[in-house]
């Protein structure tokens, strides 16, 4: 978040100067605006936090106290599915990074003409919703030369593939803005004059310089993957999203506890992104947009 803050300071002093001089209505207008802002903000907070409070309240109705949480933590499936989604998320991040970093690097350095095409492709997840993506994957990979959807292993592959494509917009944006802040051309030329291969330059020069950008894309990917439901359920994977859905059908209080935990996990991922953005200050971390799997 490198965006400069609002210019309140100046305006406040300006209006106070003016008000002390001649025009009294101005500070009152400013006050009214502030009140409205507070009202809007507090109403929004009510809307945002009431469901969380209600969920917590519901979870606490289980007897004995905290039972919804302790039962959850005793449930092997909870950890199993969480671990599965986490692992799939990590694999997705690795695959996505290995594909996106060289691509973004090449596009920036050698193939600027391909930029619109690459950008267009990375935006495809916004055009092709998850339900359509999984539909296409199941139908096209159930028969033929690559019957991935027919086997258990194959479905793991399809899940990672789908998530990798989902991660493209975030990864590409993060990496590309990271590349913008380092002098790719000079670094590459320096590497070349020291006799490095392109692979070596990518691995020991470009990757380390993009660490923060990649990490912020990675956390967002992780947040999306862990909560994802649509693709996982139709590929019949033992992931966290389908587990929670199943729990919601069969238990009463535990789903509330798991929902809160899931919210907490998303919050942790986002906090890390914000933290990275703050430490990087324009080094290409920062504000990454959203729009996960609803």
């Amino acid at each position: 978040m490198t965006l400069s803050g609002p210019s309140l300071g100046t305006r406040e002093t300006l209006s106070s100067i003016q008000s002390s001089a001649a025009t009294p209505p101005r500070p009152r207008r400013f006050g009214a605006g502030k009140v409205i802002s507070w009202v809007v903000f507090l109403l929004a907070m009510l809307y945002f936090f009431l469901p969380l409070l209600a969920t917590f309240d519901f979870a606490m109705k289980a007897k004995p106290e905290w039972a919804a949480f302790t039962n959850t933590f005793k449930d092997a499936k909870f950890f199993g599915t969480l671990l599965y989604s986490f692992t799939i998320g990590l694999i997705t991040i690795v695959v996505s990074t290995l594909i996106i970093v060289p691509t973004a690097y090449w596009v920036r350095l050698r193939l600027p003409r391909l930029r619109p095409i690459v950008e267009f492709v990375t935006l495809m997840p916004f055009v092709i919703p998850p339900i359509v993506m999984v539909f296409g994957l199941i139908k096209s990979f159930s028969k033929g030369p690559l019957p991935l959807a027919a086997s258990d292993q194959g479905n793991h592959v399809l899940l990672v593939a789908a998530y990798t494509i989902l991660s493209f917009p975030y990864m590409y944006r993060a990496v590309d803005s990271g590349l913008r802040t380092i002098d790719v051309k000079s670094l590459t030329e320096a590497g070349q004059s020291l006799g490095s291969s392109t692979f070596r330059i990518l691995w020991s020069v470009i990757f380390p310089n993009l660490r923060i950008a990649i990490l912020s894309g990675a956390f967002l990917t992780l947040a999306i993957v862990i909560g994802e439901f649509t693709i996982a359920v139709y590929l019949n994977r033992p992931a966290f999203g389908p587990y929670l859905q199943n729990l919601g059908q069969n238990k009463s209080y535990e789903p509330a506890a798991v929902s809160l935990i899931s919210f907490g996990l998303t919050w942790i991922a986002m906090a890390f992104i914000a933290l990275l953005g703050r430490t990087s200050q324009g080094r290409g971390g920062g504000q990454v947009e959203v729009g996960g799997a609803h």
Binding site: P6, K34, L50
Partner: protein, 304 residues
């Protein structure tokens, strides 16, 4: 660089050869990306496109019948429901999101609230699907916190007195706003930040009232952004599936739910029709993304 050396050493017909060699090499760098998308994106979507033009009951003969069948009542209703809900939540999300973003950015609230709101928006716009649907069931569902509280304190029955049901379009819209509103805050924030304070000062110096400033300066500048973001919110809601799946268990037919049901079992009794539905979705999403990028480009003329 090789090109530079070449032009110096033999300044004539040298450009072509190194340039071509460079091209063939550089193509290798983006090859994994394009191969991956070819296999896992183009191939599956191509499969759907092809299927949407085939008559599965008639030996996969080419047909436009699947697209004509989109007008069958079940399918048409799913599309109209999806479009209606997406439109309503996009407009509501845009209006309230704009207000909220303005309040935390320029409204004179303490600065840490802005940071908090931005991080929270990142979380909330990703907090969707199953847990979100459950959270709202616990809030305004039959045994929800608000439902019970209204009944015990004010003797108001949400369902019987106010006619509110979570299993309705309105209920779904209220839930969708939970991720629409924060998304609006996130994507409109740069535009609000882009409003230069000089513009406001200039208009104040020329004696403009706040209303005039908004009417003639700020809103016209923000308008392409606002419209673009609204379009993006529309697409965001249109593609949503998990939230509705959990909340309505299919009682409100939406396009995404119908396609999902078709994957689980051939509910439409026509595979081709499902392909055509998927294509219909892609077209609508595609149009909204194109509109968004056009509007976004327009807004960049003034902002930054």
């Amino acid at each position: 660089m090789t090109a530079d050396v070449a032009t110096i050493s033999e300044p004539g017909a040298s450009m072509a050869r190194p340039a071509r060699r460079r091209f063939s090499w550089s193509f290798l760098g983006v090859l994994p990306f394009f191969l991956f998308t070819l296999v896992f994106l183009v191939f599956p979507v191509g499969f759907l496109i092809l299927g949407s033009f085939q008559d599965s009951a008639n030996g996969n003969a080419l047909t436009l019948g699947n697209y004509a069948d989109l007008t069958t009542p079940t399918v048409a209703r799913a599309f109209s429901n999806s479009i209606e809900i997406s439109l309503v939540t996009a407009i509501m999300g845009a209006v309230f999101g704009l207000l909220l973003a303005y309040a935390v950015i320029l409204g004179g609230l303490p600065k840490f609230l802005r940071t908090f709101m931005m991080t929270f928006s990142g979380v909330a716009s990703n907090f969707a699907g199953i847990p979100l649907a459950l959270a709202f069931l616990f809030t305004v569902g039959n045994l929800g916190l608000v439902t019970v509280w209204l009944k015990s304190t004010f003797h108001i029955d949400l369902v019987n007195d106010l006619g509110f049901k979570i299993l309705s379009k309105l209920g779904l819209e209220i839930v969708y706003l939970y991720f629409q509103l924060p998304l609006m805050v996130l994507i409109i924030a740069p535009a609000i930040d882009g409003l230069k304070k000089e513009w406001r000062e200039a208009s104040e110096n020329m004696g403009a009232s706040p209303r005039q400033y908004w009417q003639y300066v700020a809103l016209p500048i923000l308008l392409p952004s606002i419209l673009g973001c609204t379009v993006l919110l529309f697409g965001n809601a249109f593609g949503a599936q998990a939230t509705a799946y959990q909340l309505t268990s299919g009682q409100i037919p939406l396009v995404t739910l119908l396609i999902g049901a078709q994957i689980s079992g051939d509910v439409l009794h026509n595979p081709g029709l499902a392909y055509a539905m998927a294509m219909g979705m892609v077209v609508i999403m595609g149009v909204s993304i194109v509109l968004y990028s056009i509007l976004q480009r327009r807004s960049e003329r003034w902002l930054r």
